[in-house]
């Protein structure tokens, strides 16, 4: 048995990113007692937060659903299901310095050379896993060993290339710097060094194995390789004179069934006779290196995917001409401001051509807390409210967020209240349900919370609704939480100095067309009527002109 470091103890699940999901505790364990100094040097760092990293609490599933973030995150992680990333996307950070730690990692990964090495690392490990899976499925002993060797080779390549790249390009983030340190330590461990050198040597030897086959009827003879003239080349040479330019040809692709048939096995047996030393070493290889994946490496693989998935989504948005930027995280004062921000879920779902999404500005100064949103139906009010909640969740993930010049303070939690389609049958029950849910939110909210409230009070009379709305909003004001409050009732927009009125607008020359632009201005239910009048030439000025003076 070769000397092994503790962190690479055999544990099959360590080979799978899925098995390494919430591994914060594993890291914490490696800090624990009973570990020698030698192990410390190769202790894994985390890209998700400063060591020792503990994942923050996960947001409520209903909140993510209300904000349409659940679908956005599913879209973002599509194709990366094996890494089980939704947990990371669902857990917003609570401290500004943790966000900054991640932002630095994100910024590093936006540099093409860092990105390329991260991609290469992930690809090599994916290939590694595929090769290992193949190995276990092989019946033939040599084939099993060869795929196992391939897996180890890919693993070493992943380690070597990422480590070299990080040493060469000197990343700016603490996350990648400590990762580089970890990889350097790991590479200098005796176990890894032996793995790498044996693997490399055997791979080289096998790749040099060439042989000839003579097929005469049903008889097959394996022969040493002799470089006889290639008939394909001769054919090519004979007819190039008719047209030198390449002729498009789909070529041949043979179905890839990795397992040999018995004819191939018989051939392999005889090739092994031609190359006895190489095949003997191949046979021994798997038992010399039964487990080679370090748990810290497996965790790094998963964490990188979180950043890559996020950045790929951002790249898609930017490709659609949308702006995403790193938010400035305020520590102390509570303010929110963002230019040209937009709904992430909508933007991911529709390319710019399929559906232009109108970006909007958001602004709450230090003394303001509540945005009361009014205006014509289907004008983007709910989208605006969602966007406000999304912005706070996304900013706390550490990546770029929709919009530019984004500044905000982190919140302790986002609460949402949207109409529930299902639930109660009678109207009274419906209103009751709504109030119960609002009550639960108001009970838990703190001045550091973000509330996204879409009130309907659909079952109440206008008078009741006004009364209820004012009651609820006053409580929100008292709580001091940040809130976006969607309502039909203009009156609520002037309730207190900390309340700001936001109105969804229509096109002045054609009021039937929504602009989906929401602007800070006094709520005025008559603006829509004025616009219609203007379109039909019924403004004061138009009438004066028509009748002359």
């Amino acid at each position: 048995m070769t000397a092994r470091v503790d962190t690479s103890r055999p544990q099959p699940s360590d080979l799978e990113p899925r098995g390494s999901a919430p591994r914060g505790s594993t890291v914490a364990a490696s800090d624990g007692p009973g570990r020698g100094d030698r192990d410390r040097t190769i202790e894994a760092a985390s890209l998700l937060g400063p060591a020792p990293y503990t994942p923050p609490p996960t947001a409520d599933a209903t909140v993510l659903t209300d904000l349409n973030l659940d679908q956005a995150f599913r879209t973002i992680t599509t194709g990366r299901e094996e890494y089980d990333l939704l947990g990371i996307f669902s857990a917003p950070l609570l401290r500004a310095r943790d966000v900054q730690y991640r932002q630095a990692v994100f910024r590093d990964l936006e540099r093409p050379e860092v990105r390329a090495s991260a991609d290469g690392f992930a690809a090599a490990l994916r290939t590694m896993r595929a090769a290992r899976d193949r190995s276990t499925k092989m019946r033939n002993e040599f084939q099993r060993a060869r795929w196992f060797l391939e897996a180890a080779d890919q693993y070493c390549r992943a380690i070597r290339e990422l480590s070299d790249a990080l040493d060469r390009i000197s990343p700016a983030s603490d996350g990648f710097r400590s990762t580089a340190t970890f990889l350097r330590g790991y590479r200098s461990s005796p176990a890894y060094r032996q793995l790498e050198s044996e693997t490399r040597q055997l791979v080289d030897e096998l790749s040099r194995v060439r042989y000839g086959l003579l097929i005469q009827g049903d008889r097959i003879t394996v022969r040493p390789f002799a470089d006889d003239p290639d008939l394909g080349r001769e054919i090519d040479g004979a007819f190039r004179r008719f047209r030198d330019e390449p002729i498009p040809d789909k070529g041949y692709r043979f179905p890839d069934h990795p397992e040999m048939n018995h004819v191939e096995e018989s051939i392999q047996e005889r090739v092994a006779l031609l190359f006895p030393r190489e095949f003997a070493r191949l046979r021994e290889y798997p038992s010399r290196h039964p487990e080679f994946v370090d748990p810290g490496v497996a965790r790094l693989d998963r964490e990188i995917q979180f950043f890559l998935a996020y950045l790929d989504a951002v790249a898609k948005l930017r490709g659609d001409g949308r702006i995403c930027s790193y938010p400035e995280i305020l520590d102390g004062t509570i303010e929110v401001s963002a230019r040209a921000t937009f709904d992430l879920a909508l933007a991911l779902q529709f390319s710019k051509r399929a559906m232009p999404i109108v970006p909007n500005d958001v602004q709450l100064s230090a003394t303001e807390r509540i945005l009361v949103v009014t205006g014509p139906n289907n004008g983007g009010k709910t989208t605006f409210a969602r966007m406000f909640g999304q912005l706070h969740h996304l900013a706390a993930l550490g990546g770029p967020v929709p919009g530019e010049s984004v500044r905000l303070a982190l919140c302790d939690r986002v609460y949402t209240h949207f109409e529930r389609g299902e639930a109660v049958a009678d109207l009274r029950g419906k209103l009751l349900d709504e109030l119960v849910r609002l009550r639960a939110i108001l009970d838990r909210a703190t001045p550091r919370s973000v509330l996204v409230l879409n009130e309907t009070f659909g079952s109440a009379t206008v008078q009741d609704g006004l009364h209820l709305g004012e009651e609820i909003l006053r409580r929100v004001i008292d709580r001091g939480a940040r809130c976006v409050y969607v309502t039909f009732l203009d009156e609520l927009s002037t309730l207190a100095p900390s309340v700001v009125s936001v109105v969804s607008t229509v096109r002045p020359d054609d009021p039937a067309v929504r602009t989906y632009r929401l602007i800070r201005q006094p709520a005025d239910g008559r603006a829509y009527a004025f616009a219609l009048a203007r379109k039909h030439g019924l403004t004061y000025e138009a009438l004066r002109e028509r009748f002359g003076s």
Partner: protein
């Protein structure tokens, strides 16, 4: 060995791409009737003619290169016809070896069969080049024939015959492989077995007792399938090379047929005009600058081909002026003249004969038409908007040296507005080096141009006889304040008392 009959340095690309304005050009210049005569009943000839006429224009030197080849085609029609028949025959051979299966083995089988058929054709091609080549005067044909004679010599034919023999595998199939992923074979290649038996049949790699050799069992059907798969793998690279080789031959003969078909189309048109007793000439291609365009006895092809007995020929000489403004009577032959200019330029730049007694032109960088379209007006965008939109699209493709034929542009709005926009647009085009031949009935526009562009504009007018009849001749003349619509009125309704006051 290249077919370079349309340009000394490159092959005709089949005109695969259709430009965004091709349809407009065909309609505006009534190109179809000309193309139909060029095709002479052969769709392919017609298609090639269309592609070449609409293709990006070649430089003047290439036009002369084509003119020489075209002269050869007219003078040595039988030899050219045999060359074309040879190409058609070779392309037909492929249908003879039609068969199922794209597996390497079947591709290899069909490929060798096709090659066996094509070899005699290649020998005949060489014979033609050697015996007839000397008679051809043009650089294009001379290079083609000398290339054939050099590349297809006796050594070449012997080596191809030997290859065909090898591909019947008289001594078994010899493959070379490398140990690949999962220890399976990779980098398969088909090798030529060495001639002397001793070198490769030495022990212990031979015989039934050899540990390196095995034979499939009598009933081993799975083994036979595996072996045939292995062979397929082994011969795949050769089969692909063979498939590419037959594709190369196909490309060569296709090229030959396509390029000859273009000249055949030109010859068809030439023969038809000469047969009708109409004058044709070899046009003189001029450098792009200064702008040259001059004609004597230029007539409209579509009218002539339509069997009109009296086709009025016209003369023209722009004398370096990049703008030609044609005004005058309605139905006076303005559009016909504009069309005849466009057609003549297209034929001239293609290297063919032109329907005129004498014709010379700068080879333009693209011919564009902007004709008023009555029928295009849709509900969604007004006629005027449509015109503006179309002009904007054309402007995006104009380059210095392009030729724009404009027929009543911007006439779908009122005269003042249309003239102002047209003037602005035209000045922008002229300043950008674009040449324009414009037909307009807007006196306001023509008069503005007369005042502001005295140096750059040439003014022509549809002639009217002293009695007020149209002669359908286009002659130099400044714009007159009114159209001649009243002439038509009078022609239809007879003399009117108020006529004098209207035309005054």
């Amino acid at each position: 060995m290249r077919v370079h009959l349309l340009a000394p340095d490159r092959e005709f690309d089949g005109g695969a791409t259709t430009g965004p304005f091709d349809a407009a050009l065909i309609r505006d210049l009534e190109l179809e009737s000309t193309l139909s005569v060029m095709g002479g009943g052969d769709d392919h000839v017609q298609t090639v003619a269309r592609s070449v006429l609409l293709a990006d224009p070649p430089p003047p030197a290439t036009v002369r290169y084509r003119q020489a080849i075209f002269a050869d085609c007219l003078a040595r029609a039988p030899a050219v016809a045999e060359l074309r028949a040879l190409a058609l025959g070779a392309l037909g051979d492929e249908r003879e070896v039609w068969g199922f299966g794209e597996s390497p083995e079947s591709v290899l089988y069909r490929g060798t069969k096709l090659l066996a058929l094509l070899l005699p054709r290649l020998r005949r091609l060489r014979e033609l080049a050697v015996t007839q080549g000397a008679a051809f005067r043009s650089e294009g044909f001379q290079r083609l024939f000398s290339g054939v004679a050099t590349d297809l010599d006796e050594t070449y034919f012997r080596s191809v015959e030997d290859l065909l023999r090898q591909l019947r595998f008289p001594r078994g199939t010899l493959l070379a492989l490398r140990l690949g992923a999962g220890n399976r074979g990779s980098e398969y290649s088909l090798r030529r077995p060495p001639e002397e038996r001793r070198r490769w049949l030495r022990l212990p790699f031979v015989g039934r007792r050899s540990p390196f050799s095995f034979e499939l069992g009598e009933r081993d059907e799975a083994g036979r399938r595996a072996l045939s798969e292995l062979r397929d793998h082994g011969v795949a690279s050769s089969a692909q090379a063979l498939r590419q080789s037959t594709a190369r031959l196909h490309a060569f003969f296709t090229q030959l047929r396509d390029e000859l078909d273009f000249y055949l189309g030109g010859a068809n048109l030439h023969a038809r005009l000469v047969g009708a007793g109409l004058p044709v000439c070899v046009p003189e291609p001029l450098d792009p600058s200064p702008f040259g365009l001059s004609a004597q006895g230029l007539y409209d092809l579509s009218l002539a081909l339509g069997g009109r007995t009296t086709v009025v020929p016209n003369d023209l000489d722009v004398a370096s002026r990049p703008l030609v403004v044609i005004t005058g009577a309605n139905q006076g032959g303005k559009s016909t003249f504009l069309r005849s200019v466009g057609l003549a330029v297209l034929l001239a730049q293609a290297g063919l004969s032109v329907p005129a007694r004498r014709f010379s032109t700068s080879v333009p960088r693209g011919v564009f038409t902007h004709f008023r379209r009555e029928e295009d007006a849709t509900m969604t965008s007004g006629k005027f908007e449509e015109e503006l939109d179309r002009m904007r699209a054309i402007a995006g493709h104009l380059r210095p040296g392009s030729l724009l034929l404009a027929n009543e542009s911007f006439a779908s709005t009122n005269e003042r507005e249309g003239s102002e926009i047209a003037e602005t647009v035209l000045r922008a085009f002229l300043d950008g080096g674009v040449r324009v031949v414009l037909v307009t009935h807007f006196f306001d526009l023509a008069d503005r141009l007369r005042r502001i562009e005295p140096e750059r504009a040439l003014f022509l007018r549809a002639e009217r006889s002293p009695e007020g009849h149209r002669t359908f001749r286009i002659v130099p003349g400044e714009p007159l304040p009114t159209g001649f619509g009243f002439d038509l009125y009078r022609q239809v309704f007879g003399p009117a008392e108020s006529g004098a006051s209207l035309t005054a």
